[in-house]
Symmetry: C2
Subunit: 114 residues, 2 copies
Amino acid sequence: MERMSLDPEIAARLKRNPEGLVPAIAQQYDTGEVLMLAWMNDEALHRTLTTGRATYWSRSRQEFWVKGDTSGHVQHVKSVALDCDGDTLLVRVDQVGAACHTGERTCFDADVLA
Amino acid sequence: MERMSLDPEIAARLKRNPEGLVPAIAQQYDTGEVLMLAWMNDEALHRTLTTGRATYWSRSRQEFWVKGDTSGHVQHVKSVALDCDGDTLLVRVDQVGAACHTGERTCFDADVLA
């Protein structure tokens, strides 16, 4: 039977910020491009692990955000890793189209400081 | 004359969390490996941009952390980009040795969830 919520063994290792969120880095699995950073709560991580679609918690809208549901720019999940401190996720995806809402391929393309 | 603090035009674009910090993703510039995520305040970003050594703010020790000063595992900065929302940095570096304090090459090598 499919779990209805995040695996308790994973949940026990997660270190969340005061809002219950963990930063998730989305990376294109084959080219290595860092696409964007967004945030997940336990349920977003559970949905990401079980649906194969990268799913975040939108801090501005305060709702789940299945990447690509509006734009078509879906992220198909290839792997998910938790870092050594348990406070950051790395989500390797196959990004359809642009990752950034500006139309750029990644959210880091437009503003190079150095 | 070298600036003593972060360029005000950059500072004006930064969106910091309540602790005055911005997450910084460190990526190996040539292989694309995502090495780690750490945090910068304005001064850490200024030092990173001007010294060529990735410099973070350690939330646990509440002090500046010049990556590699203790371990020798220096990060030589190749480029720094700010994302579209102004709330995440991508720091491309040349990582000497292991990025992770556990001795792994990256902080995401040990705990693959899926």
